[in-house]
């Protein structure tokens, strides 16, 4: 078991000396951005021109759903949000610190990406995880 939290997805990086961040892979030919490592761009088809890029933590709300029924053991309600980051990438995640009420949620609202424990979830080996969340930018 790791004594440090593990990244919730493989595109989250947790440096030994610095803040966690999300890493995109950007096509050197057409600038398409992907989450997760890859060598071929599915937009333009070019091979072996992917470079890594540190994704922005600032963005705006593009779409959402307010989830009232999920699988057993998943706490509801919560906001499943799609956020366009300032650098052109798009992320999906939980939007927190906003009431799960359509009256309180505005399209385009400024969002920031924050990093926090993965709601106490642990894997079968007892490892804890660091996740990312969205919250309104003040």
């Amino acid at each position: 078991m790791s004594d440090q939290p593990l990244p919730v997805v493989d595109y989250m990086k947790i440096p030994d000396d610095g803040d966690p961040y999300l890493e995109g892979h950007k096509c050197g030919k057409c600038d398409a951005i992907y989450l997760g490592e890859r060598s071929i761009c599915s937009k333009c088809g070019v091979r072996d021109q992917m470079g890594t890029t540190k994704l922005s933590t600032q963005g705006n709300l593009y779409s959402y759903a307010i989830v009232h029924r999920s699988f057993p053991g998943i706490e509801v309600p919560y906001i499943s949000a799609v956020v366009d980051l300032d650098d052109g990438a798009t992320l999906k995640g939980n939007l927190i610190n906003v009431d799960p009420d359509p009256e309180k949620i505005e399209f385009g609202m400024p969002i920031e990406v924050i990093f926090a424990d993965a709601l106490g979830r642990k894997d079968s080996d007892g490892n804890s995880y660091l996740s990312y969340f969205f919250q309104p930018r003040s």
Binding site: V67, A81, K92, G93, N94
Partner: protein
């Protein structure tokens, strides 16, 4: 190339049949489609079988073990919720190519109840409810809210789709449900993923549908032209690259591409279509496809449902069968069940829900991941 015709087509009444096997359920629709045109399994030269739940289970062959092992070619296909349409299209392709002149397509599914989808998988911890939701009601809620973001579409407009389709199903004895659901009932039923309430989610059911497809020459030889339905277009697309692909499964661009290609193949436009059966897996999804199929200008979908244009008796009736929302959605069967529905209208045999004077109809399905199948059908004589 020859034209291809649907000469026999039928579906079973959708329901829940846990006591039956998948091949048994599929066999029923095949026998009904054969009876519809007076042919037998011995007249069939190939079988194209669509099923998702037992995709590696040789369902087509097991169907022939039930109804006649004639040794013909069997192709088993899986393509998410576009599975049935894909099987139909493979059958059509073979006839168009001149490989065969009389073939069968069947779609069949046996489903459990409950939520489909779910984020995560892989190693580590569950991502559901941590990195948003991968449940189907939430995914299609997000797709609907994208439309709301762009065009101001409202919860009430999405809900009206469900009111309409449930109303239509009261006239369809083969639908899972025949119940009216007024607007307040739809909007106040259990919220699953806003803006989709329980009554705005399609029904998981068991079902099957089948079609016999013949070349023009064979159709004439068999004397079946009087009820035959001409396949004017058959198109299958996958999802072209879109910037939000990684987090939002895209049902729009593959539909737009398929619609454009289908209208071109048929030499027709959206204004020529008399009825549409489209993929209303959720009420939010139906709204998107009014725009995607060109039934209105982009962003006009909300007005289309408000004005009743898409209801039976309106300008372009959509899902008069009751749709997936009320007829039910047995994944692999849906793409042939909607061909049955449109064919029945073109033949003037749809009873109380008949779209008067229908001559040309369009069917549309989406398989998330994504695939889009569109067929345009015409009654010739």
């Amino acid at each position: 190339m020859t034209d291809a015709y649907v000469v026999g087509v039928d579906m079973i009444k959708f329901g829940r049949f846990p006591e039956k096997t998948v091949p048994q359920i599929g066999s029923e629709a095949i026998l009904m489609a054969l009876d519809d045109c007076g042919l037998t399994i011995h007249d069939m030269q190939a079988l194209y079988c669509g099923n998702l739940g037992q995709a590696s289970g040789m369902v087509g062959q097991r169907i022939l073990h039930e109804i006649g092992q004639t040794g013909i070619a069997v192709v088993n296909v899986a393509n998410a919720c576009a599975t049935g349409a894909t099987a139909f299209r493979e059958a059509w392709t073979a006839v168009k190519a001149g490989l065969y002149d009389c073939v069968l397509a069947v779609g069949v599914e046996q489903m459990g109840k409950g939520l489909l989808g779910g984020a995560g998988g892989g190693s580590g911890i569950s991502k559901e409810g941590l990195l948003g939701s991968g449940t189907m009601p939430a995914v299609f809620a997000e797709a609907g809210m994208e439309h709301a973001n762009k065009y101001g579409t409202t919860f009430e407009q999405f809900a009206k789709v469900s009111v309409k389709n449930h109303h239509h199903s009261t006239m369809n004895p083969k639908a899972m449900y025949q119940i009216e659901t007024p607007l307040e009932t739809v909007m106040n039923s259990e919220m699953i993923s806003y803006p989709n309430t329980k009554l705005m989610c399609s029904v998981n059911v068991d079902g099957s549908a089948a079609a016999v497809i013949c070349s023009e020459k064979k159709t004439k030889e068999l004397g079946l032209m009087n009820r035959a339905i001409k396949v004017r277009a058959s198109i299958l697309t996958s999802d072209p690259w879109q910037e939000r692909d990684l987090v939002m499964p895209d049902v729009n661009s593959c539909t737009r591409k398929a619609a454009k290609e289908a209208y071109e193949m048929a030499g027709l436009g959206a204004e020529d279509i008399d009825l549409v059966e489209l993929h209303d897996c959720f009420a939010t999804a139906e709204i998107l496809h009014y725009d995607n199929l060109g039934l209105c200008e982009d962003g006009g979908a909300g007005r289309l449902i408000d004005d009743g244009d898409v209801a039976l008796g309106g300008r372009i009736p959509v899902n008069v069968s009751g749709g997936l929302l009320s007829k039910g959605h047995p994944l692999g069967a849906t793409g042939i069940a909607n061909i049955y529905e449109v064919s029945t209208h073109l033949r003037g045999e749809a009873g109380g829900r008949q779209v008067e004077g229908a001559r040309i109809g369009l069917t549309h399905v989406i398989g998330l991941g994504s695939a889009c199948g569109i067929h345009i059908l015409e009654k010739v004589s």
